[in-house]
Symmetry: C3
Subunit: 358 residues, 3 copies
């Protein structure tokens, strides 16, 4: 690993993602992140360690004794949830992850907060928060702010870790983690993720989840990726380029039903019309053939699963909700477990949890 104290901001910022990674690792963490900024920090060994730790935490938490043990692990730590871009879902998931480990929390959840700070820079706000807490979990519309703060805090007299809970269109690394963990759990006794077929469907052009998950899946062997979208929302070229470079077997299609028949996992996504360049542009796209309903449910193999990052609109019919293959609610809960694993590991408690007697 390298150290953020050994490199200037401009030099660090200019590095490609792969080269930034070692600067963000924990000392003596064997590659585990200290600052968690982007999905590219996770390779296969790290993903497998985090999934194993999440499994362990989930299991320990089942008994009252276990739950109380977990609450003692980080009872001496306090985390700040700084959500200048509100998101109740992501907020609550991180909050719950903290609570499971006994981390006390404070929060700023208000979009208007910045204006409250009387002309203060974001950097100053975050350095102030760092005065009071031992970790900052931040979500911001400002691309790159989490990265900047990681460098700033590591070079201050009070270095504390940053966990990026979403930065602009940019990165949302823990979302990618929870998707991987959901696949990991679903196929745990079915040969693992290797060799499976994952079908992405919906708005594949915008949104960070498809991009990140597609990338992380390249860490596994022989995973086939199928991209099903309307022409106007098809998967971007740079995603395809990565797959081609890595020699991944993939397919671009507009036939959801055909894809579902061969799927181990179908990853549905919402039309992200909040990014429309002209208002109402998405509404003109015919998305009727990119929805998962009763018909698709019949076509899905018995061991197949349905995922969705939520919130959904009508991409998945509610008649699927009680089907055992509908994994999207459990996917939410998996987010809590994998985030707890990440936070525990950030503070160096991976080993003690894995080896505890519960």
């Amino acid at each position: 690993m390298a150290r953020l104290t050994d490199i200037g901001w401009n030099e660090f910022h200019a590095l490609p993602l792969e080269a930034k990674r070692p600067y963000l690792e924990r000392v003596e963490g064997g590659g585990m992140p200290y600052h968690t900024l982007f999905a590219q920090q996770f390779d296969r060994p790290i993903l497998e360690r985090l999934c194993a730790l999440a499994n362990r935490i989930r299991f320990i938490n089942k008994s009252k004794e276990g739950a109380l043990y977990l609450k003692s692990v980080l009872a001496h730590k306090r985390a700040m949830l700084y959500f200048s871009q509100p998101s109740s879902r992501t907020f609550l998931s991180h909050l719950a992850a903290c609570q499971i480990l006994g981390v006390t929390t404070g929060s700023v959840r208000d979009a208007a907060t910045s204006s409250e700070f009387k002309g203060e820079s974001h950097e100053d706000s975050i350095r102030t928060f760092s005065s009071y807490f031992d970790m900052i979990i931040m979500r911001s519309p400002e691309q790159g702010l989490a990265e900047k703060m990681s460098w700033e805090l590591s070079n201050s007299s009070r270095p504390i870790p940053i966990l990026n809970a979403g930065s602009g269109k940019d990165q949302h690394p823990t979302q990618a983690l929870l998707d991987i963990y959901t696949l990991f759990r679903s196929f745990e006794n079915k040969g693992g993720i290797d060799g499976k077929t994952v079908v992405f469907c919906g708005d594949l052009m915008r949104g960070r989840t498809v991009r990140s998950l597609s990338y992380l899946l390249t860490n596994f062997k022989d995973v086939r990726q199928v991209f099903v979208a309307p022409q106007e929302l098809r998967v971007p070229d740079d995603v395809i380029a990565v797959l081609e470079e890595k020699g991944v077997d993939f397919k671009v299609s507009d036939d959801l039903q055909a894809a579902v028949r061969t799927a181990d996992a179908v990853y549905m996504t919402r039309i992200q019309d909040e990014w429309d360049e002209s208002k109402g542009a998405s509404a003109k796209i015919d998305t009727s053939r990119f929805k998962f309903g009763a018909e698709e449910l019949k076509l899905l193999p018995a061991d197949g699963i349905i995922m969705h990052p939520l919130p959904r609109r009508d991409e998945i019919a509610t008649c699927c909700d009680h089907d055992p293959r509908a994994m999207y609610w459990r996917q939410m809960r998996n987010g809590m477990w994998i985030r707890a694993a990440l936070i525990a590991s950030t503070f160096g408690f991976e080993k003690s949890i894995m080896e505890c007697g519960y």
Copy 2:
């Protein structure tokens, strides 16, 4: 008891309140609620058990050792306070109740939250929250939502209890509980609630508290109810119909002072002009004779008490605030204790608290 997993939503929803009750009980809870949705779930034995448990919690909490014991009871549980209709008072009371029992909490308190969810249905939001928490305490302007969610969650792979903290004009069951608990405490060494005279005064037409308390009082023997209101805001016919059916001794009046002379409890209420059909309609009503002031204080018997669900405007003069018969502040605090009792019992800890050594 019956089970929500044995009945479809439409069938359940169409049942009369009385018939719904068994579906909402805790397994092996002896009639205690699992989901708490409406005041009609509480009959006399349940009310007495909850009041006894609230008394016990209040007593245990007096010492530091006792307070720490209580904080351990539900230290392995986490509750979501989902207040899409904001109410700091009700929010804080439920929060405090959770804190007394060691329940960790997360919250959404913002009226604008729904819009944030990018077109997601309330049902989906609440199922998401259920992923992260062990109980949902919810307040919503949407009538019936708490009932719907109870059925949904009980039929999901993650059944957790719902506590209704107010749904529209509909129901606010824990408010009724705290009113009963206040009467229970006030008359604990004075023969109990049986045989007492309760005077309701103010806006008896609107608001849920008078309606619910009047109903719950029918569980007790020989309680006389007197309704004092301006003609325009008099007690609704359906409330009267219930009293007539149950053979309750009641009176409708417009003479507060006469009523106060015979009262064991005077329950004052605010003019709820937020429900006015035309703006300012309430302001035209002469309410001057429906206020409790220095004069009424003199007329109130020595053992009589003054209640108010708060917030108040000028229905009770502040000169009454330091009188020992003014029970409205203690009534607030009683809300915290009885809610703690309800939450403890929901999770099956009634017996262990009643029998603990503190």
Copy 3:
């Protein structure tokens, strides 16, 4: 000491600050505050006890065992943070102070909250909160409200302490405390605060921090005070009058660089244009000579420190941020420690923390 139950509100309110002080002390607290309302409650012995306690808490908190001990000290207490005037910085600092001591918290942080209370008076709101909590930490735009509530609660059946976290233009006593604690720590091994030179620079006319700190410094021996400001924003006459009365050595100047050369501490402040009587008035003032930059950094003695209450705009150049003499980030963190000391002492735990084995 005197008791708030022995004096009427009007009589108490009319007293000069010095005469109010004994009414606000803790019984058997040796002069320590029960209600904390204004900076004039702190004389030198109290300041020194609080600084010593803050040091102790800071030290104990370094180990996990110590942190867990501190979290047990007030684990049986719950505090309400009632911020009807929002301030994330002050809010989080008090929150963190509570968390360090294990105090459970609830909060109202919304400026719009009052309107929510359907016409309820502030006094009623705060009495309601007092029902649920063991302490109220309040910030309000309403001058004198904290004082009123102290009297009200002390005269109620549920007396609990009030901590004023800022009331209008009026008082912000814990800000003054953290400034003193920062000087205390910085000069702990350099002869203490006595005999030092403190330079105030910026908008000395408005804002509470300069006023309060200047006053508290008169508790120490031979502290020289230098006031550097544009003519339009110079230190008010009443502050000067106090210094003259107490025989303090002070100077009014407009030459920052000259002052910095002789400074032990330079206290920079922001132009508080939110108080401008006509919009944009401050923008017309030439403030260019009242900023701390690279040049001033060179002139500052090796043992000198730079302070700022934050938020800053451009009064201190960011190139100073990594200089070891820049004390403004640590000053934030000191706020957390001294507030923890104040809260612990309010509940009577000064002695047990000072004498514990950690």
